[in-house]
Every structure is written in C-alpha cells, then in structure tokens.
Amino acid sequence: MDGIDMQGVGSSPHRLEIMEKVTGSAEYIADLSRPNMLHAAITQSTVAHAKILGYDISDAMAVPGVVCVLTGEDFPDGRMGAFIKDEHAIAKDKIRYFGEPVAVVAAETEAIAREAAKRVIVKYEELPAILSPEEGLAEGAAIIHEDLDSYIKVFPAISSGNMASYTELNEGDLEAGFAEADLVVEGTYDTAPQAHLAIEPCGALADIDKQGRVTLWSANQSVFRVQANVCESLMMPMGKLRCLTPRVGGGFGNKMEPHIQPLVVRMTQATKRPVKMILNREEDFECVRARHPFKVRCKTGVKKDGTITAREVEVLLDCGAFGDDSPGVLGYSLLMSLGPYRIPNSKASGKLVYTNKLRFGAFRGFGNPQVAFAGETQLDQIAEKLGMDPLDLRQKNLIQPGDVWFGGGQVASNGLQECVDKARAASDWDNRKSRTAPKGKRRGTGVALSAHISGLLGTGAIIRVFEDGSVALNTGAVDIGQGSDTVLSQMCAEALKIPLEKVSLASPDTDGSPYNWGTTASRVTYTTGRAVVGAAAEVEKQLKEHAAQMLECSEMDLELRPGGIVGVSGSDKEVSFHQISLRAHWAAGGPIVGHHTWVFNQPTIDPKRAVCSGIPFPQVGVFSFGCLIVDTLTDEASGKTEVAEAWSAVDVGKAINPSSVEGQIVGGFVQGMGFALTEEMVWDGPKLANPTLLDYKVPTTLDTPYNIHSIIVEAAEPDGPFGAKGAGEIGLVAVPAAIANAIADAIGGHVHSLPMKPEKVLNKMLEIEDAT
C-alpha cells in the first residue's frame, strides 16, 4: 500500500463531516423533529430572589393549542450539580435569579407555547437580592440556599452561609519568601462575566416509548453528563433515559452541564408526546451559564536579579445562583495562579459566593485566564520596576523539565522553553521597540506565558472489526465542532495501519457507547485518544491470534502492514483483516471487539509538599504550555485598542491533526481577545442588561488581526496517544494578559480590569498624562 495517503496521525485531512457542514445539511438540534411533536417554551422569573407562593396557569392553559403547563410543583425533588447538588430541574419553592425558568408550556406550535408562557402567573414573596459576592458575605445577608449544609457535595467542601466553597493551597514558607524579597508588588485585578455565545443556542428534544423509557437528543458536550443530570434531578433510574446527540454547534463549556434537558424530559413524561424546545438568544444568555467574574488580589516578591521568592493570590468568585462547575473553577484557578514558574513559597486561596445571578460555570480556560491576567500583568509591572526585559524576567523563573507543579503534581512533558524561544524569534521580540505606529495610534508589544491541563475522569473506546475488515469506532465523545471525530478516527487508523476511510465512527449514545465524561478540560484528544490506542492494541492482539492460526506461525512473528493486513515478518505470507474477520464471524473465535477504559488518576496534590483544603478534584491532568506575544495599536483619541499581530506558540505534545490544532490556537485567540477588549455581560440591578447581539459585542472578522501566527511545539507526553496532549484551551489562557501588557507598553501603565474597553484605556492614558 505504499504511496497511499492513510491520513493518519500528523496529517490534516478534511473533517469527516465537512460536506454536510459546508452545504448546510448538517442536522443540529433545531433541525430535528418527531411525528406528533409538541413545542415547549419557558416562563422566566421576573424577580431575582423570592419565595414562590403559588401559580395561576389558567390563562396559559386557555390559549388554543396549549397542551400542558408544568410548574415547580410538577417536578420531583431531585437535585443535581457537578460539585454541590443544589439545583432542581426548575425553580421549586424559591426563585434564585432573574430569568430563572419557573414554568414550562407545551403546545402545538412554538409561537403558541411562547405566547402562553407569557401568561403563566407566579405569585412571589420577594426577598432581598444578593447581587455581588461582597453582599453575599456581608453579615446578615439574605441566604440563597438555606439547606446548603445538607446538600450532597462530591468533594470535601468548606461552605457556610452564602459561601459555596473555600479552597486553599500552601507551599513553602510565605512569610520567609516575602522577607527574602527585595521588591514586593501587590495589586488587585478584576474580570467581567463573558458569555459563551456558541453559534447554536441550547435546545433539546425528548420522546417517550410505550414502556415509559425516554430518548433525549440535545445540544450537549457529553451525553453521559446529560443522562446523569436529568436522572438526578428527575429522580429517574438511569436505565430509563437514553441520551443521543445530533451535530453540536459549539459549546465552550456552556453545554457541558445541563440546560433545559430535564424540562423537556419531564414534559414528554407528562404529555406522552415528543417535546422539543430551543432557547432563543436572549434566553440562552439569561438562563444557561457564563464565565465567572473574578476579583484577584495578587502579591509577588522578587529579588533584584528577578528571582521570584513568593507569591500570594486571593480570589473572590461570583458563583451565581447554583454551584454548577464553580467549585472546580475556583480550585483550578488557584492551582494555576502561579503560572508556569518556579515559586518556592506560595499561598493561593479563594472564596466562591452564591449570588442571585445566573449560574457561572465552565468556560474555555476554566478560571485560568482570569488568574493569568493578574499574575502575568503583575510580572510586567515587576519587570518595569526592576528595569528588566519582561521576557527575560519570565525566562529567569521558568518551570524547568523535571519540576513539579504547584501542589506537587508531576509534569511529564514540558515544551515551554521551546515555546518561548520560538515566539521570541518569530515576533522579533528583541527589536520590538523599532516598530512604529501610524499617526494617532500608539503601538505596544506584550507577552504572557501560560500552562493548562488536559485530563480528568473516565473515558473509554470500543473498536469492532466488520466482516469486510474495516472497523467501527465508538467512544461516546461528542464532537462539538472542534474536530474530535476526525482526530480520534485518525488515531484509530494510525494504530491499526488502515486508511482513515476504513474507520467509521459511531455517534455518542448512552446505550451503546463506553463512558466519556465529556468534551471539556482539553481532554478528548488526550484521554479518549489513549482509550482508542488501548482498544486498537486489543484489536491488534485478537487479529494476530487469528492470523497466527491461519498462517501457522507464532503471534510474535506477526506485524501489522499498511492497508489492513497482518503479515509474517520477513516473509510475504499475509492475511487481510477481511479474511480474519470472516473467520472470526463464521468459523472460530467470535467477532473481534477491542475495548479500553481508564480514568485519569495522577494525583494533583502531594501532601508532603503542599498543605491544601477544599480541593475540588484530586486528579487533574497533564500539562500543555504556551507563549503568546501580541502587537497592539491603541487609538490616542479614544483609547480603543486593536490587535495588529499575534504569535502564539503552544506545546500540544503531538499535533494529531495540525490544521485542527491551528484552528484551536486561532479560535482561542479570538475568543480571548473578545474577553480582553469588548465582551462584558452587564446587569442593570437584578436584570441582565445586554442579552442580545446588538448590545453584547464579540469581535468580528474586521476586528481580528490578519496575522495570528500559530506555532506548534511538540514535547511528547510520555503516556499521551502518539505523544499528544490537549490544545483546546491553552491558546486562550494568556490572551487578556498579553494584550494588557501590550497596552501598558503603548501607554505607559496597566489597566487592571477586563474588558479593557476604550473608556478604561483612555482613563489610564489621561491619568498617566496628568501625573507627568
């Protein structure tokens, strides 16, 4: 088979589903329908914090075409939550944020359902609304979850009052570290809530069979998390719910935990008809989830030569009304708060506080971009005070191969040095001061480094050899547009030395797929890839058992040959997968099925090294690294900043599909740029003021630099599949910090608050002008 492009690892074939996507025929949740289907819509609360006294659904029921109205009274008392089981499927007894679903209406058309949903009357007794973490912690504050103590928590949570979680990590001797320092810099930094804005809003469709078993399709990042959440909140046995997925139009964390899936499942149970609900953009903004606003206090001590001696980080997170992934975000942000540096004495601690706002949750970067913004801008402030080049200061303190992470976790592969070297060279960093700006603009160049994990929890893969010798791969990993279907198939093809077209991929199905925690935590390529490689090894073993009998030789002498062939080393004797599979199906041994499952189990914390409490996950992942350099132009009249060019070097272990990796680097950059410069969810009292694309602004192509240079670095992860580790989030993490540093380079001072919109930058420019 020489000369045939197998499209295996390291090549960039087109996405498997490319034709249906570019021709617009791909089916997303909104495209699905079932015979006799009802359409559902939600009624949203019009207060932020209240006791529910009762409902009047008569007006809604009276609308012709309405079939069923369900309120909190019609839902079981089950509670779900990734870390703290604090959330019902729908508001029951209490309202906890403005816009929270309080009733669901099913009708013959969507328009009727939406109209009737406006007519559901809820009687409230209002309670004082808590709209910031500070208010939540204040003495005498109204309590949002009265039963917090009795909720089930899946980690050793430290919680009380409105504080959902407290986490702390300590290493070394903080006081001694600061005493040793020649310079101590301290600052506070804050970040705004960012909306995920997946192009596809959330939606779900459920149908029920004659035995009461429900099938659920939804926009999701994990059919298995959907199943777990729906079953917990509706108190259903897991076997009574099958979860499937159509194509998914982006997630970024928004679709990892539940949205409206429990509502449509309950409605299909109540009506015995298929029920579909698609959120509109406003609803998607108002009642799903968003990136946490952070307040970060960061203090760093350094010696005159730039050696960092100590760092202390304290964060305050707005949790919103429900725990969701927030305890994880808190713990993870603290774990990452030192950045990829050797800092011997450190303390990171933080509080997560319930408020009467939309829940905040997982979003690409998972708390890391927020702490990186603080830590990496503070490094530049230190460099300036020491008169050092910002990149040299970082270089002096880089975590080195063989070093462990904050807390004591092992770091196996580490391509950070190569990232720094390559970004420095590509951007011509050392000559950056010679670049000029057009009239009326100020040019700045900034750098920031980053690290991120890929890993977490359980995963599996099953490979079955068809009678014709091609294979079926089934992992249960949902491709949300990032390309994992293609990448996993490439790995399967590579491992079995067959062309990519000989691998057919099963769509995720909780009935038939092995478990996959989810498409999140930059994990699918690394964790599911390992499962694929493991399952392929199992298939290879079985193929060789057959081949040994068919070719009358020892298994040890057999090798896989390109194109689906097992041959005897050093001879031309061989059999094809096709021949082997026919024998296995009809004659001897039984069909060939290989499977592999595993759970990430490398400890995050070494108790001999670090003293920690409230850690949300004991086993996090392996590390990817990045170095980002950006060139910006700030308008002198308005303070508005644009990114002129960017160089993003990222260590991904091995680029299984290089153009997909570039897609992640560029996409992460642009999403980070929005977070840095324009995106901000704004509340007007208890109500979200900008839940539309007219008012909430993401950068367009015209706001995006033409040149975002992706520089792929490959420091192989020893246990990664073909050396690969994650690439999904690392490209975003450093973006706000690098842009902040570039702006500071241009105007002479740092803005400590995201987004760095024109107003904040102009105020900083004027403040600096006034001072000089």
């Binding site: 328009a111 009727i112 939406r114 008012d695 015209l702 919109k757 107003e759 102009l762």
Partner: protein, 294 residues
C-alpha cells in the same frame, strides 16, 4: 388574538402617491418598508406587527440619486447605504454623508438599508442624522397633503422621533450646493466593527484662499436623543484657521451642549471625554488633507 397569527398585507406600489394612499387606507398599523433591515428585525422580535406593509422598493424616483443643475444633490429615499457610500455625485463637503454611509454597520446591512429608512427610524446612534445636519440637508416628505421639505435639524426630534406626521413618508434627502474648496468629515467611534456609534462627530467646513474658515457646521451623534448641533462652537471657529487653541475652546462649547446617557455602549462620562478628542481628530484630519505639506 395571538400575535403570531396576525396576517400582514403586503403592497408594492409604483408611485409615491399610490404608496401614500395605501398607507392612509390601512391607518395607524400600516408601515412603509424600505430595506427592511430594521423593520423585519422588529417584527421578528414581535415588537411591531403591522397590518400592512407598503414596500417603497418599486418606486422609480426613490431609487435615483441625481446631481441637479443648481449644484444640489437629491438622494432618493430608497438609495442603499452602499450606493451612497460610493456615490460619485458626493464631492467636497458632501463627503460627510458618503463617509457616514460607508461606516454604517457591515456590508450586508449596507446592501439592504436605505437612507429613507434610516432617518425615518431615527436611532439616536445612527450615522446619517449628524452627517445630514452637518451637511445642512433638507428632507423631502410626501403625505396625503402633498410634498414638503424641512431642514434636517428640524426633522430629528430625538429618541426615535421625527417630524413625520402619520401617513407621511420620506421621499428624498437634498444636499445643498457646496463649493469645491469645502470639506466634510465623519468620525465614528464604536466598540467593534459594525456596531452603532458610541459617539460620532460630523463636520463640514469651507475656507477662503488664505485658509481661514468661512463657514462651518458640526453635529454630534450618540450623545443624546438625536444629532446635536452646536452653533456657538461653529461661530467660535469661523474666522480661525483651526488653530489648536481655537479647536480646544470650541470643543468645550460642544461638550456643554451634549446630553449623553450611560448605556451598554459606554458611559455618559466617557462620551463627554471622548467627543472633544474626536472633534480634534476630525479637524486635524481635515487640515492635514488640505495641506499635505505640513
């Protein structure tokens, strides 16, 4: 009745008179539709449910832009933003209008939206209103009583309100003759490409042979209910050569007249800070393009 089940009657007349009659017949719930860029979005959001839509797209005279013998330019109400942005009839100070058109939204909206629709909707952050005030334009209106013309300044009454009476439509925008030595400039500040203005400034100026300002009009957008013209600032600059001091003083007079609010695009405070800076930039750019040697 359910809003979703409301039927809308759609008409496409060939003349202005027919359009006016069709609107009058149907009463208050009827609406003219031009590009539909705004109206269809409002209908989708169920904010308006017209009983009748009268499309102006088949009325020939509304689709023309003509250079008239007296030097004025007549822009038909149905002219798309993209056409106006590239309009070869717009020269010298009239470029304040083509400049504004070229900065509206994005290419798809510029291909759809019309000058008549934009000014009739009168969004306080829209781009045409300040540019038309600076250009000293007149708005031609047709209604059951026939046609009338009013200055742009009197057309925009603030916060989506205009001088249009019920049943009236905009038929054209007329720009007065300008001298070759005049210049026009539109400066827009927005959060991202394609957004409405956070603030904008429009200026037209004419100079004599010794570069002294002989006439000047300026208007600010996005800082109140409609375009804000500041005559005191105009007067202060006439007779100057736009020296920095003069511009800074005039900008202060402008700021005193602004009436901005805090919204998601920006704070009132920021608008007050940034408008003088935008003005300064606009004047700088104009002076420089006139005297490239400097």
């Amino acid at each position: 009745m359910l809003t979703s089940m409301t039927k809308t009657d759609f008409q496409k007349p060939k003349t202005v008179e027919e359009a006016v009659t069709l609107l009058k017949e149907a009463g208050d719930d009827a609406r003219p539709i031009s590009g539909g860029a705004t109206l269809v979005a409002l209908m989708n959001a169920r904010l308006v449910q017209p009983s009748r839509l009268v499309s102006l797209s088949a009325i020939d005279e509304l689709t023309q832009c003509t250079y008239q013998s007296d030097g004025s330019v007549r822009i038909g109400a149905m002219r798309r933003h993209r056409q106006t942005a590239f309009e070869s009839n717009l020269k010298a100070a009239h470029q304040v209008v083509s400049g504004a058109a070229s900065q509206i939204a994005n290419p798809p909206v510029r291909n759809m939206g019309t000058i008549g629709g934009s000014i009739s909707f009168a969004d306080p952050a829209a781009d045409y209103p300040p540019s038309l005030v600076a250009a000293n334009a007149e708005i031609e209106i047709a209604g059951p009583e026939g046609r009338r013309r009013i200055p742009a300044e009197e057309f925009f009454l603030g916060w989506y309100e205009t001088a249009l009476e019920p049943g009236e439509i905009v038929t054209a925008v007329i720009l007065p003759p300008v001298s070759e030595s005049s210049v026009g400039q539109y400066e827009k500040l927005c959060r991202i490409a394609g957004d409405f203005a956070l603030a904008s400034v429009a200026v037209t100026i004419d100079f004599n042979a010794s570069n002294t300002v002989t006439s000047l009009r300026l208007a600010v957008g996005g800082c109140g209910g409609g375009p804000i013209r500041v005559e005191a600032a105009e007067q202060a600059l006439i007779g100057t050569k736009l020296e920095l001091d003069a511009v800074v003083d005039a900008a202060e007079l402008v700021v005193a007249e602004l009436d901005p609010i805090d919204d998601v695009r920006g704070s009132a405070e920021y608008r007050l800070k940034v408008v003088p800076r935008l003005l300064q930039r606009a004047f700088n750019n104009l002076v420089e393009t006139r005297e490239p040697a400097q």
